[in-house]
């Protein structure tokens, strides 16, 4: 019996193991993305402004679900847009909420990009998330500083003239040109 037992035991253990560092399953990353997106929406709707209609939470829930289930569609950007639209329509939130929204918007975009590369059963090494968090820290610190400046500017009134608006638009245009995905073959060069 021992002759076959070794084979039977080996059969139960038949698999491929890849040794990595500590890891989390892909579904956990998606769950974290959903939690962060839901939190961002909740914080945005907790600020000043009109109360949403009854159907709005359902729509937002569907959006969060879609972000978590299909992160590759880029719906995390839509979450950021919705949050921004709510803040725009609802009025300036308190400084704490603004800083939290700045953090959550960044997290949603980054986690959406990471989750887009994974499937539910993908093993995501925690070192990947830690390195991404480290890389995101300097821009986040800078953005938090900008949030404080923005709050001060909003409270003290805007400076006269539209020069700062033109500068902001030019900066946005430059970033968009640099950051947006471009096709490898431009459309006018395609056959």
């Amino acid at each position: 019996m021992s002759a076959l037992r070794s084979l039977a035991d080996a059969r139960q253990r038949d698999d491929v193991e890849v040794e990595t560092g500590p890891w989390a399953p892909g579904w956990a990353v998606r769950l974290l993305l959903a939690v962060v997106a839901a939190t961002a929406l909740a914080v945005a709707w907790s600020g000043p402004g009109p109360q949403p209609p009854a159907s709005m939470p359902i729509l937002l829930g569907v959006l969060v679900l879609a972000v978590a289930c299909a992160p590759g569609l880029g719906l995390s950007g839509l979450v950021v847009l919705v949050v921004g639209a709510r803040v725009l329509l609802g009025g300036a939130p308190p400084l704490g909420s603004t800083m939290l929204l700045v953090l959550l918007a960044h997290l949603v975009v980054w986690l959406g990009a990471v989750a887009a590369r994974t499937r539910a059963r993908t093993r995501v090494e925690l070192a990947v998330l830690a390195a991404g968090a480290r890389e995101g820290l300097p821009p986040q610190v800078g953005a938090q500083g900008l949030a404080v400046v923005a709050a001060v500017v909003a409270e003290g009134g805007l400076p006269p003239g539209d020069g700062w608006r033109v500068a902001a638009l030019a900066l946005a245009a430059v970033v968009v040109v640099l950051a947006l995905p471009r096709p490898r073959v431009l459309w006018w060069r395609r056959d």
């Binding site: 002759a3 725009l88 700045v102 960044h106 980054w110 923005a150 640099l178 995905p181």
Partner: protein
């Protein structure tokens, strides 16, 4: 954009949304809105600035597991090995390899897909800081040449904002030797050979058990004189008595593997359209394991073991002894596999006289039983080892069950016919050690009291 790299759609959408917020904040004079998109935009600009260039390279290499896992990170560059035969571990043991990743500058993450036997077994998102070595451990019940793993990889840039083209699949094969298991008593041929060995023969000689006590005769050695018996039987020392012993001898065993069949536990795979699952031992795996176990048992007892293959016309491995013969047998077993249309044998392979023949087959057709019958009729002791695995038939439909039942009936008829011809049968899937020990005891009994001639 660097060659072979493209922007991630998710990261691009985030950048677009952030830019829209920045513009909207500027247009409507709302810095609190504009600042919401600041961090993702800065991060996106930063990733564009640090756009990786170059390609990720991936290799799968044999690895003993003795070096530390990260040894490849700083080690010297090695030539890509691609596909090649690796080490030869035993079945049931772990086949070790390692995946070496060389990431281009700027890429700090890689997405790996690991496949084995046509199925996805792992997908990993790992950090690659320049070079990364990932130990790979494959446990298998299959023997012979087989795929260790096939790996595809894709490099990912900072912030998961850019992705490279996937690499070509890189695989590695390894030769997995059948791992022998320890057996208890093993049956012996009716006639033993030679003047040395571990078994007592019936011939007079030296080294074996006591045969008789006899009067001293010319040719007897002086040291054979049994002085106690002599003193008891001839106190005046007119006669001397010597102890005579049986001679020692060795057994010659020929293992005959039927490599024409390689069927798994699922009868639906027998038609050949799809192979058996990687985690299922096939009949040939069981046959290799059985033959290796018997070879180890006999060679450990000092006997001579040879190997032949019913499914291939090649020179058989002649009987030999020793540890190196076991290595030769295991390697020969590992490379044994079905090779096209099996040749039709007009006569069974020649075997040494007086050898014990052990045939490993599924007995799903007449060929193996035919040669076993001919060997038995020629006077050899023949043991038929049935290596058909335990079948799974719960998922079969009625027609398949009926077909399987007919195949089983024909197979049972063959085995019953062999049993009628005094070919001893051992089912390897049951308890082969007990079955073989029973055959060993049966072979030691001599016709006489209570034992029919």
């Amino acid at each position: 954009m660097s060659e072979g790299w493209s922007r991630s759609r998710a990261a691009g959408a985030g950048a677009v949304a952030s830019a829209v917020l920045l513009i909207a904040g500027g247009v409507f004079g709302r810095p609190d809105v504009a600042v919401l998109g600041a961090a993702p935009l800065i991060a996106a600009a930063w990733t564009v600035w640090r756009q990786p260039s170059g390609q990720l390279t991936v290799r799968v290499e044999a690895w003993s597991g003795e070096e530390p896992a990260g040894a490849g990170e700083d080690g010297p560059d090695e030539e890509p090995s691609g596909s090649g035969d690796g080490e030869a571990p035993a079945a049931g043991a772990a086949v070790r390899a390692r995946v070496l990743l060389d990431a281009p500058a700027g890429a700090d993450t890689a997405l790996l897909g690991v496949r084995r036997a046509g199925r996805d077994v792992a997908e990993l998102l790992v950090r690659v800081d320049g070079r990364r070595s990932l130990p790979l451990l494959v446990r298998t019940v299959r023997t012979g040449p087989q795929e260790v793993a096939t790996v595809e990889a894709q490099a990912i840039g900072p912030g998961a904002a850019s992705i490279s083209e996937p690499t070509d699949p890189v695989g590695r094969t390894a030769m997995v030797l059948p791992g022998p298991s320890a057996l208890r008593d093993l049956p012996l041929p009716p006639r033993l050979r030679g003047l040395t060995g571990a078994h007592t023969s019936r011939r007079p000689g030296e080294g074996g058990d006591l045969r008789d006590v006899h009067q001293f005769a010319p040719g007897d050695r002086l040291r054979r004189i049994d002085w106690r018996v002599t003193a008891r039987r001839a106190p005046d020392l007119r006669e001397l008595y010597v102890r005579r012993e049986h001679a020692l001898a060795e057994a010659v065993v020929l293992l005959v593997v039927d490599s024409r069949d390689d069927v798994g536990p699922d009868p639906r795979t027998w038609r050949g359209a799809e192979g058996p699952r990687a985690q299922d031992a096939t009949s040939l795996d069981l046959g290799r394991h059985a033959a290796a176990s018997l070879a180890q048992g006999y060679l450990g007892a000092g006997d001579r073991v040879g190997l032949d293959d019913l499914g291939a016309r090649r020179r058989p491995l002649p009987p030999g002894g020793g540890r190196r013969q076991l290595d030769r047998i295991r390697h020969a077993l590992a490379v044994t596999r079905p090779e096209g249309e099996p040749p039709k044998r007009l006569r069974p392979p020649q075997i040494p006289s007086g050898a014990l023949v052990v045939v490993f087959s599924t007995f799903l057709d007449d060929e193996a039983s035919r040669v076993a019958r001919q060997w038995r009729q020629a006077g050899h002791r023949v043991i038929a080892v049935d290596v058909l695995p335990e079948l799974r038939e719960g998922h079969l439909d009625d027609r398949e069950r009926l077909a399987l039942r007919m195949v089983r009936l024909a197979r049972e008829d063959r085995l019953a016919e062999l049993a009628d011809l005094d070919v001893e049968i051992v089912h390897w899937r049951d308890d082969p050690a007990v079955g073989l020990a029973g055959l060993a005891r049966r072979g030691q009994r001599r016709p006489g009291a209570g034992v029919p001639a």
